[in-house]
Structure formats: structure tokens, C-alpha cells
């Protein structure tokens, strides 16, 4: 009988680059930047790592296929290295691989690293795959962009819950204003300027009804973690430990897009995945027990609806919670304390690990100006793909109390 991942693995150390338009470096240099910080934090040498997971999504604009680019960039000592890719959950998938390897007892210390170098395409936004989207899909699926795919949630959500367009736009704007306020405090964030409601509401439309400030940026970055067992961490002299409480994944099977039930107004995978994660972590009342959220705010509407899919806000009521400041830094459950995808941008392979990095800092009391008092559980969430067909990953981390 499976017992779940709770408290079997802890984080020994983490690293995260400054995110942004890193014209100065490529993916290889970004990996070294994150890895160097991580090794110093973990207090181990490179030789201590026994296996590694490499998260990298868009190989065509990045480092190419396979795990060799990371092994070469970091000069890893001919150990097991595996490349994983699962849309925007790629970074979390690398983490999951390393954590499961340690939990299985196969290895003592493993590395998870995610990187993406997006600013080598020559244009803004994510790359357009064209016929590279799949030989059948290319022939019928709309030539959609990420903003357009997610914007549909907004039109469906507003229609389903009878929310006037202006009210929804305001709630979405509040989501972004809150994240920018947090990102302004984070030296590693890409966008570090606070924005006002007026600015957000006046921004040009990208994909109706989403405007510029409803969309996260596109940037370059890397983040990584070294994980081990609580016992080994203690033996290496670590006192406060951040433990993995839950790692869950839910992947669409076409139900949303092709069956007749889903209303297009939320993320079916997230609503399932979050329940599994709470069960694994032993959380009974997330609205009361969770201390902070690092959500996949690729678009403001994604974050808004996710509050409901995490069963924290009531269905159709998240927009009110947002306007009430429930998720602000001084609110009941702060979300996107580091600034989120909104301010970090979204180097796909790195994002999941970047979220875990913020939870890790907060749980250890190392988050500086952003530090919240006495966090207990932090939840990270990735949503890859698009609303009707996606990959949802949820991690819950907390202090190791063993």
C-alpha cells in the first residue's frame, strides 16, 4: 500500500538565477549560475550528487534534446542524468524525479534543475510551433497563442457566473497589481516595478479580455534543488529542514475538450490534483492550513480560477476574494510572494523549481522583505498546456517536524 511522499525527502539546498531578458548568457551559463548557488547552499561538492534530472521544455530554441546539455554544462561526473519535459510542469517534474529517486532508496543525494532560454526567438511571446505542434493537430487545431487559449476561461467564467465584464476585469487587474507589488521586493524578479489598477486596466488587449498586464512575461532563467533524506541532511549539519509533503500530477485525457460536461470556466485537472495533494500532505482544510501559494499565474485568469480549483475560494467567488485582498501579502493566504510568473516571466523548465525556491526561502525565514510570519505549508502549482488539455502539478512543502 502506497504511503505517499510526505516527509520522506527534504531539500538540502537550492539555487535560482536572476530571471529576465538575459541577453548576456545562454541556457548553459544560467544552469551554472543556479547550480553554483545551490551547491553552496547545500554545503556539498558536485561529486556528492549521484543522479540528476534535467527539466527543459522548448529544446528547439534551447539546448536541444537529451540530458547531455546539462551534464556537459555542469561537467557532472558521468552520473545518471535524465531529461524531462511536461509542458509548464517541466521544472516540477525534474524535482519529482529527484525526490522519488531519493525516496526509493536508490540514491542518497539527487539534483533537479530546470532551465529555459526563451529570448533567442527574435520575437515576444512563446515560440510558435506551427506544424511542429503535431502532424494531425496542426491540420485542425486553431493557430492559438497561450493568451488566447487562457482568455477563453475568462469569457466562459464570466458567462457561467454572470459576472459583469467590468467586474471581472477589475478582479483580474487586482491579481496582477498584487503580484507586481510583491515582485518589486524581489531582486531576482524580471519585472520589479509596482503597477496601479488604472495602468493595468488601461493596457492594450492581447487576447480578449486579457490585456498586457494580465499576461506574464517571457524571460530566461534557471533554478535547481538538491534533495536528500532527512537523516542525511541532519548528518550534514542541517538543523531546519524543508520537507516534501506532497507531489501530485493530474493530466487531461481529453475529457474537458471533447466530452460534454466541463464548462470551460476552470481547470478540471487542478480541482482533482489539489485534493490528492491535500490528502498526501495530510491537510484537511486548505483555507485554514496553507500559509502561502505560488501559483501558475501565466495569466491573471489562470490564477483567479485556480483559487477555486484549489478549493480555497468558493466556486464563482474567487474574484470577490481577490478584490477583498485575501491573497495579498498581508492577506489571509498570500499568493505569489516572490512576484509569480507575472514578475519572473516564465522560462518554462525553470518555473516550477523557482516556485519551490520561494517556498523554501519562506519556510526557512530567508525571504527578506517578503518574509511572512511563521509559514507552515507552502503550495506550488504548475499548469502546462491549455485549459481544455493540460498538465497540472502541485507540490506542498513544509517544515520537517520529525
Amino acid at each position: 500500500m502506497a504511503t505517499g511522499i510526505r516527509d520522506k525527502v527534504v531539500i538540502l539546498g537550492m539555487g535560482c538565477t536572476r530571471f529576465g531578458e538575459r541577453w548576456d548568457v545562454g541556457a548553459e551559463e544560467l544552469m551554472v549560475e543556479a547550480f553554483t548557488e545551490c551547491l553552496a547552499d547545500a554545503g556539498i561538492e558536485k561529486d556528492g550528487i549521484q543522479a540528476a534530472w534535467y527539466g527543459h521544455c522548448l529544446e528547439e530554441v534551447g539546448t536541444g534534446k537529451s540530458a547531455t546539455p546539462m551534464a556537459v554544462a555542469l561537467r557532472l561526473p558521468h552520473i545518471a542524468v535524465t531529461r524531462v519535459e511536461n509542458y509548464c510542469a517541466t521544472g516540477t517534474e525534474a524535482f519529482r524525479g529527484a525526490v522519488y529517486a531519493v525516496a526509493s532508496g536508490a540514491y542518497d543525494i539527487c539534483l533537479a534543475l530546470g532551465v529555459e532560454k526563451l529570448k533567442d526567438t527574435g520575437y515576444g511571446g512563446l515560440p510558435n510551433p506551427g506544424s511542429g505542434f503535431g502532424s494531425l493537430t496542426w491540420q485542425w487545431f486553431p493557430n492559438a497563442s497561450a493568451p488566447g487559449l487562457f482568455a477563453q476561461v475568462a469569457t466562459a467564467y464570466a458567462a457561467r457566473h454572470g459576472i459583469p465584464e467590468g467586474d471581472l476585469k477589475k478582479a483580474l487587474a487586482a491579481v496582477s497589481v498584487k503580484s507586481h507589488a510583491n515582485g518589486a521586493l524581489n531582486p531576482k524578479a524580471h519585472l520589479r516595478r509596482p503597477v496601479t489598477m488604472e495602468q493595468v486596466l488601461a493596457a492594450p488587449i492581447i487576447a480578449y479580455p486579457l490585456g498586457l498586464f494580465d499576461c506574464c512575461g517571457v524571460s530566461d532563467g534557471a533554478a535547481c534543488a538538491v534533495v536528500t533524506t532527512p537523516e542525511i541532511a541532519r548528518s550534514l549539519g542541517k538543523r531546519d529542514l524543508v520537507s516534501v509533503k506532497a507531489l501530485q500530477l493530474s493530466v487531461s485525457n481529453g475529457y474537458e475538450g471533447a466530452f460534454n460536461e466541463w464548462q470551460g470556466d476552470h481547470f478540471y485537472t487542478t480541482s482533482k490534483c489539489s485534493l490528492a495533494a491535500y490528502r498526501e500532505a495530510g491537510i484537511e482544510d486548505p483555507r485554514r492550513e496553507i500559509s502561502m501559494l505560488e501559483l501558475h499565474d501565466c495569466f491573471s485568469i489562470t490564477e483567479l480560477v485556480t483559487y477555486e480549483d484549489l478549493h480555497i475560494s468558493e466556486r464563482g467567488k474567487a474574484w470577490r476574494d481577490v478584490l477583498d485582498g485575501f491573497y495579498n501579502r498581508d492577506g489571509k493566504i498570500p499568493a505569489q510572494l516572490d512576484g509569480g510568473l507575472k514578475c519572473f516571466g516564465h522560462p518554462i523548465g525553470a518555473s516550477g523549481l523557482r516556485m519551490i525556491y520561494e517556498v523554501y526561502l519562506q519556510l526557512l525565514g530567508r525571504a527578506g522583505d517578503r518574509q511572512i510570519p511563521d509559514p507552515r505549508y507552502g503550495l506550488t502549482h504548475n499548469l502546462g498546456g491549455f485549459p481544455s488539455q493540460n498538465v497540472c502539478a502541485i507540490s506542498i512543502l513544509g517544515r520537517y517536524d520529525g
Binding site: 491540420q139 485542425w140 493568451p147 481529453g254
Partner: protein, 801 residues
Amino acid sequence: MIGITSYGAYIPHLRLNRAAIYEAMGWFAPALIMVAQGERSFCNYDEDSLTMAVEAARDCLGGIDRDGVDGLYLCSTTMPFADRQNAAVAATALNLKPSVLTADFGASLRAGTTGLLAALDGVRAGDRKSILVTAADRRETKPAYFYEMWFGDGAASVLVGSEGVIAEFVGSYSVSYDFVDHYRAADRHFDYTWEERWVREEGYARIIPEAVKGLMDKLGITMKDVQKLVFPCFIQAEHRAIAKRLGAPPEAVVSQMHEVCGETGTAHPLLMFCSALETARPGDGILLCGFGQGCDALYFRVTEAIASLGPKRGVKGSLAAGKTTDNYMKFLKFRGLISPEMGIRAEAPTQTALTTLWRNRKMLTALVGGRCVKCGTPQFPPQDVCVNPACGAVHTQEEYPFADIPARVLSFTGDLLSVSVDPPAVYGTVQFKGGGRFMADFTDCELRDIKVGMPVRMVFRRRLTDEQRGFAGYFWKAAPVAAAKGAETAPHRIRFDGRVALVTGAGGGLGRVYALELAKRGCKVVVNDFGGARDGSGDGSTSPADGVVAEIKALGGEAVANYDNVATPEGGERMVKTALDTFGRLDILINNAGILRDKGILKMEPENWRAVIDVHLNGAYHVTRPAFAAMREQGYGRIIMTTSAAGLYGNFGQTNYSAAKMGLVGFMNSLKQEGQKYNIKVNTIAPIAASRLTQDVLPPDLFEKLKPEFVAPIVLYLASEECKETGVVVNAAAGYHSRAAVMTGRGVTIGDGQSPPRVEDIRDHWQAINSMEGAQIYGDMTTAVFSFLSPPAASPGKEGN
């Protein structure tokens, strides 16, 4: 009996206002003004001849068992593929059975009728029971060209068979000549065209009558046996002339839809044929000609079965829907005639895997999904494992065609980031009635048209163009269920439903545009034109008035021609009688007829003076008097006089014309009072427009800017119920509007009014007498005189109306 068993038509959603071509390119090709009236249809960026052919065929096959179709002939000179049978693509899109004979007919605009003849031959031979003929053309021309004005895009389909024949095929006669009115080499995109006059006279006007005569001799019929004469000739005047020469009465000549669609090439004879069938009655004879390197002439006799044919969109439905745009640049972009920067994002790979297309041809080309035979769930795309989470059965899917199932919008967006020829890219999830959904592109709509829950229908469209490899990929898109054009009949839109207008001199220029615009808004129109020369000479002609009546009828409007001369009292009486006899009332009179005889005063012989006064001033009197009687009777009327800047302000060499024009202002001033209590409003327009009267009066560059279309709106407003004004003169030219009025200075009273002033007093007060400071307008003579005799402490600029 063999013949036509069904028909269908497709005219694209988009129409370009022809004036927009002139507005953009008139500087380059001023002569375009001659043909810059009405609108032409054009393909959306995702349409081509193949998609239009499929849409027309879908209309034709509505309610018909597709397995009964044994052949599909696709006729077009603008097929997307030179070697990949276009008919086979269409047959797949229509989900016809595999054992169908398919063939492409092209290389001549006559291919539509030739394909139809081949189908008739095939059915008569007996091997095939039912053959679908679908013709389409997306007519390509370079920009700023007469042909760009004349041509349109469209498609028409007919089903040929022997059961349920609605129009029996009686016989045909064809002639073939290598008459090269235009040609297009195999590697060229545009036609090369020879002189239009020759094409008209030696081509259309000789070859069509030859084929018609051959057919009539062969069948032993005469024009008396022809209730509907269908033949294409994109030059309106020649079309009328040929019909006349063939002895066809005007009511038998089927409209070319020039005003609302344009000439659709291969499809056009069949499109006109479909429009003929829409109004045909059992027993009607239809003579159909296709022209191009010769002529096919076919004769059909409509049967009783036409009454039981199911409802169709047809030509009428196509024309009633749609959207008219003035965006000429969009037209150019959609046709690939300009290449704006699409950005690096557009450089994504575009190769289509033909193996994948073949395996999934039903899904991709025919929009066939699956339905699980175990749980009954329809699903798209079709997959081996049922999508219903409560079922999940494997290999239980049967074919389930989604193309004709109504759907609704579940979610949508308008995406400005993704690459699109017509941004924003509008797409969203559509939910089909009875189950099944997928994310689809939307087309023939704007973002603001789309709402969650609104009904959509699926249409066959070009989904991708691979420029690098010359490939076109097709799929299905969602289009809002066509709201009829009339849907803009919002309460705020000014309409003339139930109203009857008489427009004098309506055979051309301003009068014609007034008549057309009134008709477009529901007005019944008496189109008067004497058909004389510009100076009023000649015995008159019926063709200008007839032409405009035909244009109005092509728009679906009601109109009647009148050829009387306004210069006689009897002429005016008869015009009004035409309105009352035909439509039962007369609500609107637009006194527009005019002639010119410009001369310096010394050369202005009495005859020249009188002719101009007779038409303009006396003419208005001759028509207005009987019209006023009718309006007074019904307690409603709108009368428009036409004055001129020449009269209001003066123009060298136009003393006769100026006198007449200012005379009309006086006429109005008094008539407005007589009409007051009968709700008869009388107003005057001073138009400056490009017309026959002004073509050598105005400088050419000014002439270009002054289209009659700019004057029509103010005239229509003054003619509408909403107009409460009376006695107003309005200047109108190229968008400029101003009121002109007789202003009266504040004046001065010299002396005590008891004794007359001295001449010297006048001299001494000249400045005050001449001053227009504080000038005002008087609404009638009494007010004016009263004001003069007791001048108030005038407040400057106040109107005394």
C-alpha cells in the same frame, strides 16, 4: 424526364463597397468613378473557389440523401490545385460515397454550363442517376481596375437527375469559338483583357444571340416561351441591349446582380439560374446561356415539383446576409495583393503530412467525428477509446458527421498575438447539439459579434496556406448563424418601408443614387427619366430609367420606370399617376431632373433660357402640383427641391440656370407654408456632385471627390419621417454640409416713418443699410415685414423662425 432536381448558391459574407476602391485609388485611375457604385462580393481570407463550391453544394444537397449522388463536377477557372483533383477534395468535404465520378471543368468561364451539359448527358445516358454540378470562381484582378469593380466571388450548384425534377431539361445548343476576349496563361495569376468595346460588340452581342437562335430553331421555341432569360454579360448596358435584341421583355431578364455581387465568372450563369429558380413558377421556360470561347444555351421548363423543394439559403438568402465594408486595404490583403509584414512569428514551419491527411481525411476534410455505439457519446476528434469517463469503451466508434449539426459557443477569445491575416484571431470551443465539442477557429465575424451561448454553424474553409510548398489545407470553422443584413433594421435606423418616392431625372447621376439608396431602405420608387441629352435635346429614351429599375430589383427592391418629361404639365401629371397607380400613394418627391445650356448673356437666346427654366423651375412646378395634391390627401409628404451654388452665389455663363435655381428657393419658401398643416415638409438641396451636368464644369481633381453617394444621405434624411425641418436649403458636397439661407441685416429705419427719406439720407446711412451684423433668417414674409416695421433692439444672430 431529366433535369434539375435541386439547386444551391453561395455568395461570400463580405462585400466591398465599390466606392471604396475609387476612394483609395481614384487619384490613380479617375475613370473608376464611372463604375464606383454598388458593392461586390469577395472571399474572406480563408475562402477560395473550392470552399465556395462546397458551401454552394451543401446548400444544394440540404435534405437530400448524399449516397444517391453518383457524380460531382466542379467547374472553375480559379481552382486552388492544378494537379490534385479539386472535385475530389469537394467530394470528400461533402462526405459523398467513394464510388462517385469526380471531374474538374475549367479553362473557360463557360465551364459552368459545360459541366452542367456534361452532367445532363451523363444522367441521360443512364449510368449515373444523379450528378452534382458546382461552379465557383474567385476572380482575380490587379488593383484599381474596372474589372476589379465588375467582378465578384461566388458559387452555385445544381443537382441533375431524373427523379423529383424541378426544371425539365428540354435541349441545348452550343457554339465554340476561339474568341479571346481575355485569357490567362497557365502560369499567370491575372487575365489579359482586350478592348471592352470589341468584347461587347463582337463577343457577347454576337455569340450569345447566335447560340440562342440556334437553340430556338432546334427546339422550335420563341422568346414567348422564355419567362426567365439567364445570360451573363458584366457590362450592364450591353446586357440590356442584348436582351432587347433577343426580344426579351424586361421582366423576363434575370438580374446579373451587378449592384450587389458582381460577375462571378464560371459560377455566374448558374448563380443567375439559381436566382431564376427561386422565383420560377411551374410552366416557366428558362433559357440559360454560358459565355466563354463560344456559348452554351440550354432550355428548361419548370415543373410542379419546384413547389415541394425544401428551403434554401440560395441567392436570395446569400444576398440578404453578409457584411459590407469600405476597407479596401483589407480586400487587398485578403487577396494577397499586398504583403504587409507578418513578423518572425509567422515563419513557423508549415509542412502538412499528406500521410496524416489521408488517414484522417474524413475527420479533417469532412468533419466526421465518432459516436460510441455503447454509450452514444458523439466526440471529436474520433479516437479509439471513448471519451466518456463512465464508458471508456475501445473500438466502439461509428462515423458521426458534425458538419451540419448546429452548435453554440462555449468559450471564445479574440487573439491579437497569434499570427492572423485578419486579427484578432477569433476562436473558441463550440458545443454541438446532441453532444460533441472542439476548439474551432471562428470566421465571417468580428470579435464583438461573438457571445458565449450564441448559435454557430460549421463552414468549410481553407485553414492553412503553405507558401513554401504551394499547399492549401482545409478544415471547418464556426461562423455565427447568419444574421440577415436587414438585422441592422434597428429602431434607430432610418427606413422607408411602406413609403413611395418619385425621383425625377433618376436615370443617372444624383437621381439614380437617390433612387437606389431609398430602395435599399425599403422605399418603393418611381424612377423617372426622360432619357434626353444633357442639354435636354432628343426624343428621349427608356433605357436610363429601365436600367435603374433593374438595379433596384436586383437589390430586391420595388421600382417602376416612368419616361415622361418634367417640362410639360402632362408629364408631371403622368409621373404622379404612375406612383398612385402602381403603389397607391406618393410620400416623397425629389425634384432632381435638370439640363444645362450654358451661355454668356448675349448668346443666351430665348430658346436656351426657356429650355432651362422649363426643366428646372417649371418642371418642379409641373410635378410638385399633382404630387402635393396626393400628399395633402394622405396628410404626409416630403418634397425636395434641387437648387445650386450657381443660383445661390452666382456662376459665369449660367444666368438661365441660376435664375431657375433661385426660383426654386422662392418656390420652396412659399410652398412650405402651404404644406405646413398637412405635414408636408419642403426642403432644398444644393448638391455639388460628379454627374453628367458637372463633368466638364468642375476641375477634374475636384470632380473625382464629388461622388453622388455623398449627397444621398442628406437627401434621404430630408425625405424621411424623422425630418421635421421645412424651408431649409442645405449645401452638400463630399461630406461637407452647411445651411444656406437668405439672411437679413438688422437694418436701420431712416427718419420718423412719416415722411420719405432723402436720397442723401440713403447715402449717409449706406453702411448701416449694408451691414450684415446681427443678420437673421425670417421664416415667412409676415414675420419679416412685421419685424421691419417695428425693428426690435435686435440681438445679433438670433433666428426669427
